[in-house]
């Protein structure tokens, strides 16, 4: 099951590594997070220039045809550097949905600006009371001529304050939980009657509560096909988030190991204490398993295998629990230093906590994994 990376993929990895090493060390990231905007347009431009924003898209729409495996390579490195720019939101979620569900006209109209780094997008699906269920939608979309008008409220929309466009799930028919009554819409983030209340997230990003009052939206994909589109999209984003988590877990482990070899207490390095050695061995095993499962998931996604949705939930759960336990121990083994804002350890902890909430926590996906039919 080991991945034999292609030459292109290796090249992609080393060029992302070089870029981040040169431009995205922890101090640079701290400055970006503390800046007024909270992310760097310049950095985003550098990602575009390097082709990262084009990498997963098919050549037919102006991409490099790297698919989910290029996303995996990129996200793993982004996880190691705690990149805050909205690659997941703009490229994996919005770009992915447009490529998957959009009309030819929509692809031509939106994807070039996404790939060029001109436009930022965000996906607004969570609502008060929806928790992690894609089909619990109360925001409504009412037909108005060729268009629709949307009314409702979305919650905790990551990257919304940065976005030029939003993709919004809204109900076009039937009742609150009915999955066939939900459709997706493209909405101009600066539209009149679209109101944002922005806030900071635990992992240094920006998000917003978004309210719509008769805001014009353009249907993306088929009427009533929103949940199915979001489900496929969620599988892919889980592949990306798991790659990011694995990158973060790897960094936590190497930093903790390094620290345990230099930090002395009671006349010995703390790494010489057996109780801590065993814990670091468990952290190592957790990383190995997470890496394997993450690659397995992304290979299955790439091959379009049946049953991949169940696997995605399994990976989200297993890697989520692994991340939480590694992050807990990394903070604990760094002692007080692990609690400080100054050191990067706590920031990995917070990113992993945030990944665990996005698109469903480990407990949610454990249950989803258990309930989905393996034969389906």
């Amino acid at each position: 099951m080991d991945i034999q990376f292609t030459e292109e993929q290796e090249l992609l990895r080393s060029s992302v590594q070089r870029l981040l090493r040169d431009q995205y060390d922890f101090d640079a990231r701290r400055k970006i997070v503390a800046s007024e905007g909270g992310f760097s347009r310049k950095q985003w431009g550098a990602f575009a220039e390097l082709g990262l924003l084009a990498a997963p898209f098919s050549e037919a729409v102006g991409g490099l045809g790297g698919g989910v495996l290029s996303t995996m390579v990129i996200m793993q490195e982004f996880g190691r550097h705690l990149v805050v720019e909205p690659f997941v939101e703009t490229i994996v979620l919005a770009g992915g949905l447009i490529e998957q569900a959009g009309s030819e006209e929509q692809k031509q109209s939106f994807l070039p600006d996404i790939i060029a780094g001109e436009n930022i997008w965000a996906l607004a699906w969570t609502e008060k009371g929806s928790r992690f269920d894609l089909a619990t939608v109360t925001t409504t979309a009412r037909r108005d001529g060729n268009d629709y008008v949307l009314t409702g409220e979305k919650t905790a929309v990551i990257a919304a304050p940065w976005a030029d466009y939003l993709i919004v799930s809204a109900r076009t028919s039937d009742h609150r939980h009915d999955r066939d009554g939900v459709s997706l819409f493209v909405v101009d983030r600066h539209a009149a009657n679209l109101h944002l209340q922005s806030f900071k997230t635990i992992d240094g990003r920006r998000a917003a509560e978004v309210s719509f009052k008769n805001v014009r939206g353009e249907l993306l994909g088929g009427d009533g096909e929103g949940v199915a589109a979001l489900e496929a999209c969620r599988d892919r984003v889980i592949g990306a988030l798991c790659a990011e988590a694995v990158g973060a877990i790897g960094e936590l482990n190497s930093a903790t190991l390094e620290y345990s070899k230099t930090r002395k207490q009671f006349g010995a390095t703390i790494g010489s204490f057996q109780v801590l050695q065993h814990r670091m061995v468990d952290m190592f095993i957790a990383h190995q398993e997470a890496l394997s499962l993450m690659q397995h998931l992304n290979l299955s996604l790439s091959a379009g295998e049946a049953g991949v949705s169940r696997l995605a939930s399994g990976a989200k759960s297993k890697i989520g629990y692994a991340g939480r336990s590694v992050a807990d121990q990394a903070v604990q083994l760094h002692g007080g230093m692990g609690m400080t804002d100054e050191l990067n350890i706590g920031h990995y902890f917070k990113r992993i906590s945030s990944i665990n909430i996005q698109f469903g926590d480990p407990a949610y996906h454990l249950l989803r994994y258990a309930r989905l039919d393996p034969a389906a």
Binding site: T155, A156, I202, K264, Q358
Partner: protein, 393 residues
């Protein structure tokens, strides 16, 4: 769970309960009292307790304690934590106060004890150093005798609320040639002395509780030495014993479990499969609390009969902190997508927070409580203590 109380002790419990209900300052009821209160606000309850004569339950009557039995001290602790009152500053009342009345001289007792009781002096703890965390005996901050002063040079860290402090009690090295434990002295330093610098440490929840304290050629009068020179380690150990007594945190955990239940009820419908999962997790942690509370009551009953509890404090510290970490994690999980948001400090800036009020502090509490298994002697150290002192390993 309740101690079997005599009618007199039961009456005392009712009195404490009524006093809290009638006197706890409303303005101290803020979303996160541990980070949201100003120094003056924190001292409001302290001053009320002082006026009532209840500020220092641990202290003997001659120094201003209320002269309570072990049972009454426990009842007071139970009632105040159950009611969610902000405990008076431990560094002053629970830590340095007992060191001063146990090991200090008459002049020191007269000078410091009344101001600790009244809240006029705010104390912080100069123990940890960058190289001395769990291994406290290796402190390197030096105090060199110069006439009737010590010249102190060093670097203390993780100093809680030093930004408010008038005084710091420090472990300093007075004999660099002796074995680590035997060259340490216990010195009281005025924070206004030239050469004392406080630098904030911001933690992962964004709050400012702890600090670095730099000591550069600080002149400290010899009269501020507690007890004998080079005997500081035994005073420090005495103090750490006090630090670890009340770490079971039953009252606090019980309150946070009640809040967690309310959040789960409001956020997760019963037909959501996650609901049953939370019901189980909550029951599990409730049983953890129940078992720890029963242990605490058993220990209190033994102590009331004059039996030395041994290192029971280590057990309370380990389980109390693990339980509270678990509760804050469950709470963070329970608020779902709102768990992505965190309040910005200083909170007085009143930035927007999404979601219902009950979730607004969930992220910061979850993050902040990671410290519990690290500070006050890490849980690894506590396990070492039990292994050695109880199991004889």
């Amino acid at each position: 769970m309740e101690l079997a109380l005599s009618p007199e002790d039961a009456a005392f419990r009712d009195e404490v309960r009524a006093f809290i209900a009638g006197n706890y300052p409303a303005e101290m009821r803020v979303p996160n009292p541990e980070t949201d209160l100003s120094k003056e606000q924190m001292l409001l309850w302290h001053r009320i307790l002082h006026k009532k004569g209840w500020i220092a339950p641990l202290w003997p009557k001659e120094y201003g304690g209320p002269g309570w039995s072990i049972t009454r001290r426990f009842v007071f602790e139970q009632e105040t934590t159950r009611a969610g009152t902000m405990p008076p500053l431990a560094f002053s009342v629970t830590m340095v106060g007992p060191v001063i009345y146990t090991f200090g001289n008459e002049a020191q007792k007269k000078k410091f004890l009344p101001r600790i009781l009244s809240g006029d002096d705010w104390w912080c703890q100069g123990y940890s150093e960058p190289g001395s965390g769990s291994d406290l005996a290796t402190v390197r901050t030096k105090a060199v005798r110069d006439g009737d002063h010590y010249i102190v040079n060093g670097y203390k860290t993780w100093t809680t609320l030093a930004q408010h402090a008038d005084w710091i009690f420090c472990l300093v090295r007075t004999d660099p040639t002796a074995k680590p434990q035997s060259g340490i002295s216990f010195l009281l330093i005025d924070m206004k002395s030239p050469g004392v610098t406080v630098r904030p440490i911001i933690t992962i929840d964004g709050s400012h509780e702890v600090n670095d304290v730099f000591l550069e050629n600080v002149r400290v009068p010899v009269e501020n030495l507690i007890g004998e020179e080079n005997k500081g380690w035994s005073y420090a150990k005495f103090l750490l014993g006090n630090e670890r007594t009340s770490m079971a945190g039953i009252g606090r955990s019980t309150r946070y479990i009640e809040r967690l239940k309310r959040i789960v009820k409001a956020e997760i419908p019963e037909d959501d499969p996650a609901h049953l999962e939370f019901v189980r997790d909550i029951a599990r942690v409730e049983l953890d609390v129940l078992a720890l509370e029963a242990t605490e009551l058993r220990v209190v009953a033994q102590m009331a009969r004059g039996i030395d509890p041994g290192p029971a404090a280590s057990l309370f510290k380990i389980r109390g902190t693990e339980i509270f970490q678990n509760i804050t994690e469950l709470t963070h999980r329970a608020i779902g997508n709102y768990g992505l948001a965190i309040r910005e400090h200083p909170v007085s800036a009143n930035h927007f927070m999404p979601g219902p009020d009950y979730g607004h502090t969930a992220s910061e509490k979850y993050l902040n409580s990671r410290k519990l298994s690290i500070y006050g002697g890490s849980n690894e150290i506590q396990r070492n203590i039990i292994a050695k002192a109880v199991l004889g390993l």
